[in-house]
C-alpha cells in the first residue's frame, strides 16, 4: 500500500531557506543543503525546493544548491519557482530534480504543461495552485498569491491535469500561515475533481492537523509544510510515528 507522504518545503532565496507568514515577512532559517539532509535523515518522504529568487545571480546560486543537494540526498526532489519554459524544466532536471512544479508560468502559458509532460512524462509535471475563497467559490491566484487571475480553481486544476500534470499541490491562501489545520473543504473539492495525487499545503500547525487530514480525506496523498518543520514546532520523526500509531500507511 502506498504510504502517505510528508513533504517539507524549502523556500530558497539568495542561497538561504526562508519562510513567511501569508507569503510576507520572510525570515532566514538555514542552509538548504544541510536542512535537506537533516529532513531526509528524519524521514521526510520528499522535498520541495522553491526558488523565490528574482536575479540571474540568485538563479545560478539556486541551481548550484540544487546540484549539491541531489549529490547528498536520495529522496525525490521537486523544484518550483520561476519555471516558465521547457528550458527551465531542463535546467533544474539536469541538476537532479525529479519533478518540476509550475504555477504562474502555467497560468501565463498553459501549453507549458503539455510540452513538458510530452517531453518528460506526466509524473514529472506538478501543477501548484494558490487558491483563495472568493464570492462563494475558489479562485486561482498568481505571483505567490498576490494577483487574482479571475479563474475558478477547480476547473483550472482539472484542465491542468487534462493537459498532463501528474500531481497537484493545492495551497490554500486562506489557511496558509494560520496554523489552524489544512483546508479540508478546499482539498476535498480538488481531490474529488482529479485522479492524480493531491498534496495538501497551507495551514498545518501541529501533528494532529496531519492526522486529521489523512483520516478525513483518504484521497489526499501527501501533506506539505515549511515553517513548522524549519522551526521545529513539528518534528518529522514524531509526526510519522504518530501517523503510524493512528493506522495511517506510513514509511518509517
Amino acid at each position: 500500500m502506498i504510504t502517505k507522504r510528508i513533504i517539507p518545503c524549502l523556500d530558497v532565496k539568495n542561497g538561504r531557506v526562508v519562510k513567511g507568514m501569508n507569503f510576507e515577512g520572510l525570515s532566514d532559517v538555514a542552509s538548504p543543503v544541510e536542512l535537506a539532509q537533516y529532513y531526509s535523515s528524519c524521514g521526510a518522504d520528499e522535498l520541495v525546493f522553491y526558488d523565490i529568487t528574482a536575479s540571474a545571480e540568485g538563479r545560478a546560486l539556486f541551481t548550484d544548491i540544487l546540484t549539491e543537494t541531489a549529490r547528498r540526498v536520495f529522496i525525490p526532489l521537486t523544484v518550483g519557482g520561476g519555471i516558465n519554459t521547457v528550458e527551465d524544466f531542463d535546467r533544474v532536471l539536469k541538476c537532479g530534480a525529479d519533478k518540476v512544479s509550475v504555477n504562474s508560468g502555467a497560468i501565463r502559458n498553459p501549453d507549458l504543461i503539455d510540452q513538458a509532460a510530452k517531453r518528460y512524462g506526466d509524473q514529472c509535471v506538478v501543477i501548484s495552485a494558490d487558491v483563495k475563497r472568493q464570492d462563494g467559490g475558489f479562485r486561482v491566484y498568481a505571483k505567490g498569491g498576490r494577483e487574482d487571475t479571475g479563474m475558478e480553481a477547480i476547473s483550472w486544476i482539472r484542465a491542468c491535469v487534462d493537459r498532463g500534470a501528474g500531481e497537484v499541490v493545492l495551497n490554500s491562501i486562506d489557511t496558509d500561515g494560520v496554523k489552524g489545520g489544512f483546508d479540508l473543504e478546499m482539498l476535498e473539492a480538488v481531490s474529488n475533481a482529479v485522479s492524480v495525487p493531491v498534496i495538501a499545503s497551507g495551514g498545518a500547525g501541529r501533528i494532529e492537523d496531519f492526522l486529521t487530514l489523512f483520516q478525513t480525506l483518504p484521497k489526499v496523498d501527501a501533506g506539505l509544510a515549511a515553517s513548522i518543520f524549519h522551526f521545529g514546532e513539528v518534528k518529522i520523526a514524531d509526526l510519522k510515528a504518530a501517523m503510524a500509531a493512528a493506522g495511517i500507511p506510513t514509511r518509517l
Binding site: M1, I2, T3, R5, S40, D45, T67, A70, R71, R72, F74, I75, P76, L93, K94, C95, G96, D98, G121, D122, Q123, G166, E167, S195, V196, P197, D221, R251, L252
Partner: protein, 203 residues
C-alpha cells in the same frame, strides 16, 4: 567500477551520486571499452519503452549488454531499465525487449482496482517473495520509491519482491546474475543505498 549505461535516456545524475555516496566509483558511459572493464553494469531508464528499446538497439548498447551478461557480468536494470530486460512490452503496441528475463511488461491498469491512481507513485513496502543477494541489508517493512504505469508480468519464477497496490505488482526480479528493480533505489533513501551496496558486493 560500475558502468551506468548511457543510451540517451533520462537523467543519470542522482544514480551516479548514489554510488558515490556508498563509496563506489561509477561511470556514466556508452564506451564499450569502459563497459568491458567494469565489474558490473547498471541499465537505467525513464520514459517510454518503445523509444528506449530503439535507442538501446541503435546505440549498439543492446548487443554490448547481451555480450557482457553472457560473459557472466552482473547487471541491474532500474525502472524502465528493468522492464527492458524482459521479452516484450505492451506499452502502446508490442515491442521487443532484451529478452534476458522471461516475461512481459503490461499496464498496471489491467490488474489494479478501478479508481486507484495511475501511475503507482510513491513509497511502498517491499514484500519479499524469495531471498536475493540484493536484500542482504534489507529490513522488514522497508519502503522504496516507485513511479510506473506498467509492470512486469508472466515472470513468476523471476520475482524476488512485490509491492501491494490492490494487486501485487512486481517490484524486483532476478535470473542468474541479471537483476531488476521496478523502484528507484537512488531515490529510496538509505534503503535504496543499501540495495545498491548489496549489488556492488555480488561477486
Amino acid at each position: 567500477m560500475i558502468a551506468i549505461i548511457d543510451y540517451g535516456v533520462g537523467n543519470l545524475f542522482s544514480l551516479q551520486s548514489s554510488f558515490a555516496a556508498i563509496g563506489e566509483e561509477a561511470a556514466v558511459t556508452s564506451d564499450e571499452a569502459v563497459i568491458a572493464a567494469a565489474d558490473r553494469l547498471i541499465l537505467p531508464g525513464v520514459g517510454a519503452f518503445e523509444d528506449a528499446a530503439r535507442k538501446l538497439r541503435d546505440s549498439g548498447m543492446a548487443d554490448v549488454i547481451k555480450r557482457e551478461v553472457a560473459d557472466g557480468k552482473p547487471l541491474m536494470g532500474i525502472c524502465l531499465g528493468m522492464q527492458l530486460l524482459f521479452d516484450k512490452s505492451y506499452e502502446y503496441g508490442a515491442h521487443d525487449g532484451l529478452g534476458l528475463i522471461r516475461g512481459n511488461v503490461r499496464p498496471i491498469a489491467d490488474v489494479i482496482d478501478k479508481g486507484l491512481k495511475i501511475p503507482h507513485i510513491g513509497w511502498n513496502r517491499l514484500i519479499v517473495k524469495r531471498q536475493s543477494p540484493l536484500f542482504k541489508y534489507l529490513r522488514d517493512g522497508d519502503c522504496v520509491y516507485f513511479v510506473h504505469s506498467y509492470y512486469a508480468a508472466d515472470c513468476d519464477e523471476a520475482v524476488t519482491a512485490t509491492a501491494e497496490y490492490s494487486a501485487e505488482l512486481t517490484a524486483s526480479v532476478e535470473r542468474d546474475h541479471v537483476y531488476g528493480c521496478q523502484f528507484h533505489p537512488e531515490k529510496s533513501g538509505d534503503v535504496g543505498l543499501r540495495i545498491l551496496k548489496a549489488f556492488c558486493e555480488i561477486s
